[in-house]
Amino acid sequence: AQSVTQLDSQVPVFEEAPVELRCNYSSSVSVYLFWYVQYPNQGLQLLLKYLSGSTLVKGINGFEAEFNKSQTSFHLRKPSVHISDTAEYFCAVSARSYGQNFVFGPGTRLSVLP
């Protein structure tokens, strides 16, 4: 079984400042890793994913994440945030064997302040 921890439930940050949203996971098998964003009253949109290869993954809207196997982490970063980045961010894992039973973290609410 897999589990996901997002250590920060809320992250306030000023516009144009950098931000890091933390994600740690546990799993007894190899996993794929994902970050999804959810804007108010909407579904989930994929930001980026790590399947294999380079541990630094670039996604949409200027976000990137780094997979660290030894620390079982997949932290999300953006060097300069915008007001429009205000949303809920979810880290998720799925086992590499087909099943795609995604396990989501509890989410981090990013609030970008003017």
Binding site: Y36, G43, L44, K49, S94, Q100, P106
Partner: protein
């Protein structure tokens, strides 16, 4: 191309009633999954269907059931509704176990169920 579509978008039911939620996957996707997202929490896996067969089930009571049709659309049924069933129900589609599958799920905008 159309994304994942879900209906209805909002609905209100009373305790004890039954509800059916519908989902149409992205064209070409053969796998549909259902997730429950309670306010303030991450989505929780309910069911996965592929080629009309159940491939996975989360830790939900038997009041929850689903099916997938030959055109790969899906329905989620919840019987004997409880207040705690109030949530956003998300449908997600994917290609299924193919070499083209990049592993991600594509989500619809959800059906928001309120149980009074």
């Amino acid at each position: 191309d159309a994304g994942v579509t879900q209906s209805p978008t909002h609905l209100i039911k009373t305790r004890g009633q039954q509800v059916t939620l519908r989902c149409s996957p992205i064209s070409g996707h053969k796998s549909v999954s259902w997730y429950q997202q309670v306010l303030g929490q991450g989505p929780q896996f309910i069911f996965q269907y592929y080629e009309k067969e159940e491939r996975g089930r989360g830790n939900f009571p038997d009041r929850f059931s689903a099916r997938q049709f030959p055109n790969y659309s899906s329905e989620l049924n919840v019987n004997a509704l409880l207040l705690g069933d109030s949530a956003l129900y998300l449908c997600a589609s994917s290609l299924g176990p193919t070499r083209q599958n990049t592993g991600e799920l594509f989500f619809g905008e959800g059906s928001r169920l309120t149980v009074l």
